[in-house]
């Protein structure tokens, strides 16, 4: 179990992490997701023991491993964690096998044992054929596998990943997602995974913490986040495509009834239709783009800073700049105050 209690990390006057608390159970796959600069990497580095919290505590199981107020933190190596860096941080002067072997050697494991473990993890990641190669002689995806093998070799009980897939191309990314989940299950460890890509969060996580400006916007399962976003930020950040937020002031008259005068109404893309003619339930937008999605069409219109995306069955014949009328459902799926908090 990982328990994070009121964790703060400041760099100079600004708080990169500003009072974060949550618990995740043993064996969970926690994803920290948020835009760049939201504090997610700093969180991960505090979990790894590479940064010391300014205040608050981190507890692994029953053991407090970092205590900001007391100003101490257990050494990275004593925390039973492994970390995959965004850059992979493979040591360029060691072979693939050497990279996996070195942490075991530092840990004082005997040679035969080490050899067996290195072979085992290389096999597990399907890179045993690369054992004698150097990091610069293998591809990015293979380097990624080496970094994972190196992390799991000492059998840490917590696996930490810092945007591990961001340097890979789109296809490899999808493959490695599956691979990571397999490693996660096979090791039975608790994983914490940092990304700015909400698709990764939604597909891999058992628990997601959406971070923004050093705070948790929402903590929950992927389903909860999509079904029940707690803030306007979460509503527009998660889901493929994410939900639409429309200012109540520009809603058509027939849809405004019973809503507060200002604030934001949330509509799911699958609940919105399109029409070629305006009526009392439509919003007029300029057609921007359309793409086929699993037999349906995802269609986006813009008007000033507002974007509305709908998922519809048939693609209307439109070219960029044409007017398109989005038909809004009877009631919005959720309402948010102008400040972003959830109203209903």
């Amino acid at each position: 179990m990982i328990r994070i209690d009121n964790l703060v990390k400041s760099f100079g006057p600004s708080n990169a992490v500003d009072g974060i608390s949550f618990d995740v159970p043993q064996g969970a796959f926690l994803v920290l997701v948020g835009p760049s600069g939201c504090g997610k990497s700093t969180m991960l580095r505090m979990l790894a023991g590479l940064e010391q919290p300014t205040s608050g505590t981190v507890t692994f199981g029953e053991k407090v491993v970092s205590d900001g107020a007391k100003g101490w933190t257990i050494d990275p190596a004593q925390r039973d964690t492994g970390l995959v860096f965004q850059s992979y941080a493979l040591w360029p002067h060691m072979t693939v096998a050497g990279n996996v072997d070195w942490p075991l050697k530092v840990a004082g494991m005997g040679k035969p044992e080490r050899q067996a473990r290195v072979t085992e993890v290389l096999k597990m990641l399907g890179i045993e054929a690369l054992a004698a190669r150097y990091p610069n002689e293998i591809s990015g995806g293979q380097q990624q596998r080496v970094a994972i093998a190196r992390m799991i070799a000492p059998r840490p009980s917590i696996l930490l990943f810092d945007e591990p897939l961001s340097n890979l191309d789109a296809k490899l990314r999808v493959e490695m997602r599956t691979e990571l989940l397999r490693v996660h299950r096979a090791t039975g460890a608790t994983s914490v995974y940092v990304t700015h890509d909400q698709v990764e969060a939604m597909t891999m996580a058992t628990h997601v913490a959406v971070l923004n400006k050093g705070r948790v916007e929402q903590f929950g399962t992927p389903e909860e986040l999509v079904q029940n976003p707690a803030t306007a930020f979460v509503a527009t950040f998660v889901g493929t495509p994410p939900a639409n937020l429309v200012p109540i002031s520009i809603l058509p008259a027939a849809r405004r009834g019973g809503l507060p005068p200002d604030g934001l109404a949330m509509y799911r893309p699958e609940d919105i239709g399109v029409s070629e003619v305006p009526d009392a339930t439509t919003v007029a937008m300029d057609f921007a783009e359309a793409s086929p999605v699993a037999g349906r069409t995802m269609l986006t219109g813009i008007s000033g800073a507002l974007r509305i995306t709908a998922v519809v069955d048939a693609k209307p014949r439109l070219t960029v700049g044409d007017q398109v009328h989005f038909v809004l459902p009877e009631t919005p799926a959720a309402l948010f105050a102008p400040s972003g908090e959830r109203l209903s």
Binding site: L50, D75, A89, P92, H93, P103, V106, E163
Partner: protein, 581 residues
């Protein structure tokens, strides 16, 4: 394919522009670089000279001609390389990887000693540590009443110290640049594995930086074995010979064949180690840097060691930069180097001839010979800077446009050959080739032209590098994007290429200018009284005991060099990635 049959059977003989340009470049390089080196080799193989080889290697005099100087040279090379890597590596580690205060200042100071010519440092050493063993004025420390032992005053130890003080900044620059590319992720990954500081240093940081350490060692080794000034000023008075001083001595007394043999052997020694160093680095498959996102700079915390290490670094920097310069200035003003800071006079700078002082030598600014030498040296610097920049640019252009094929390979190799050749041996090669008339051409010995072409050839590797950097910067995307706008060739040249390239070229030219200004080893053999060069004048004054004049001239060289270097840095707005915090 139909194109084959459609092609006319007899193609008009077309002049291949690319090929012609390559041949022209090859011819220039051949005359400038290959010919002198080949000539010096053949000179020693001619029937009347061939026995010089056996004289030098196995004859009655071989011990004194070759083996003892070779031993001294190797001792100097190895010890200087070790000392430079230790000191330069220590400072680089401190500046790049730790939280020592004043990192930026230390980093800047550590690059300065290389800008101070080694004869300046050697002269400063003499002004401080000279004892009465060889007569003449004693140094400042004896003047204070201390007794300086011979080993600290003359010979191997002072030569070593002076060379290390001069070359360590070379090792610093190379190692610091390499350490700056060590992603701090690599260190943190080792921390995650539980390695302690010492283990991280030995297991991760050092191996990753090893290529730079080897490069630093082989460069400083090559520098030390080819250095003429320090052993000549500090070793010759007590008959300590290195290959460089032996070569100089043999040519001075007219035993040119033996001198040429020594020159060839010196080239071999220097090139062998540079080649070995290169082999060690390129032989390892493991060292291409892996780039990736991330990598914030996280520094080692030194804790209680912070201040002592700062003091140590500061001391090293001060002793190798400020102290020698201050001593040089003081001793150019003091009538007696045993009392450096008293009775200061401007006589050695501006005084008119006075029979009671320094055998009637006038101050350097009142000595028309020295004034004209200053003008000559500066014109030489400017001329070499211009010619070498032009040739370097052409070579770089030819290589950039078509770098494949055996011809380009030869051009590439030959243009970097002078890096392997010690300056004094290069000078000897030039005498061998141009010392006598060639066909209709008169002998060039003692002419400005000889100095000019020797300097141009010697510094060509640097200007080819400059040219490459400039072409890389200008060609490609930038030029193509200008082309996309429809700008014609001339328009692109004037508004894109020239503005972008001129700063880089000017900076490169200034560096060449500085290298010529303070060079001694190349010109010391080419020097004639009709073509006086400042550095050789300083050396002559010093060896005749007129240290004040020597030091005053050296100060002039220093001032000009430093001004030009600062200007060059300004132009390049030199990026020093390892200084970023």
């Amino acid at each position: 394919m139909s194109t084959d049959t459609a092609r006319p059977m007899t193609r008009p003989i077309r002049i291949d522009g690319k090929l012609v340009l390559k041949l022209v470049v090859l011819a220039i390089l051949g005359v400038l670089i290959a010919a002198p080196l080949l000539r010096i080799l053949f000179e020693t193989l001619s029937p009347d000279a061939i026995e010089a080889w056996s004289d030098v290697t196995s004859g009655r005099l071989a011990r004194n001609l070759l083996w003892v100087p070779l031993g001294n040279t190797l001792i100097l090379g190895v010890a200087v390389a070790c000392g430079c890597v230790l000191i330069g590596g220590f400072l680089a580690w401190l500046v790049v990887m730790t939280d020592v205060p004043f990192r930026r200042t230390i980093g800047l100071m550590a690059t300065l000693p290389f800008m101070i010519p080694s004869f300046a440092t050697a002269l400063a050493w003499g002004s401080l540590f000279k004892n009465s063993r060889v007569g003449g004025q004693t140094g400042f420390l004896e003047g204070l009443g201390l007794t300086i032992p011979d080993w600290l005053s003359w010979g191997m130890v002072p030569t070593l110290i002076v060379l290390i003080a001069h070359y360590y900044s070379l090792a610093f620059t190379v190692i610091a640049a390499a350490l700056a590319t060590v992603n701090s992720d690599l260190v943190e990954a080792a921390q995650m594995a539980g390695a302690k500081r010492g283990r991280i240093l030995m297991g991760i940081v050092l191996p990753v930086a090893l290529p730079a350490v080897v490069a630093g060692a082989s460069l400083t080794f090559a520098g030390a074995v080819s250095n003429f000034a320090a052993p000549a000023l500090l070793g010759l008075p007590v008959r300590m010979q290195t290959m460089a001083t032996r070569l100089y001595g043999l040519i001075e007394v007219g035993q040119t064949a033996r001198g040429y043999v020594i020159a060839i052997l010196l080239i071999l020694v220097s090139a062998l180690f540079l080649w070995l160093g290169n082999k060690v680095i390129s032989g390892r498959r493991s060292y291409a840097t892996i780039t990736g996102k991330g990598g914030r700079a996280k520094r080692f915390t030194l804790g209680a060691a912070r201040l002592p290490l700062l003091l140590l670094a500061g001391l090293i920097c001060l002793l190798t930069t400020v102290v020698p310069v201050v001593i040089l200035i003081a001793s150019s003003l003091a009538p007696s180097s045993s009392a450096l800071f008293s009775n200061w006079t401007l006589h050695y700078w501006t005084g008119v001839s006075d029979p009671s002082i320094a055998q009637g030598q006038a101050g350097i600014f009142s000595n028309p010979f020295i004034v004209s030498a200053t003008g000559l040296t500066m014109s030489l610097g400017v001329a070499v800077a211009i010619t070498t920049t032009i040739i370097g640019l052409i070579v770089a252009y030819v290589l950039a446009r078509d770098g494949k094929g055996p011809l380009a390979g030869i051009i590439n190799q030959v243009s970097f050959l002078p890096l392997l050749v010690p300056g004094i041996a290069f000078g000897a090669a030039y005498i061998a080739l141009f010392g006598a008339p060639i066909g209709p051409f008169p002998a060039l010995y003692g002419t400005f032209t000889l100095l000019l072409i020797a300097g141009t050839a010697y510094l060509l590797p640097f200007s080819v590098q400059t040219g490459r950097a400039v072409i890389q910067q200008v060609s490609g995307d930038l030029d193509e994007s200008a082309r996309m706008t429809g700008a014609g060739f001339l328009r692109r040249l004037t508004s894109i290429t020239v503005p972008l390239a001129s700063r880089g070229l000017a900076a490169g030219g200034l560096i060449v200018f500085v290298k010529i200004m303070r060079d001694l080893s190349l010109v010391v053999l080419l020097f004639t009284p009709t073509m006086p060069v400042l550095s050789v004048l300083a050396y002559r004054y010093a060896s005749e005991g007129f240290t004040q004049f020597a030091n005053a001239i050296t100060v002039v060289i220093l001032v000009i060099s430093i001004a030009a270097t600062l200007l060059a840095n300004q132009l390049q707005s030199k990026s020093q990635p390892w200084l970023k915090s």
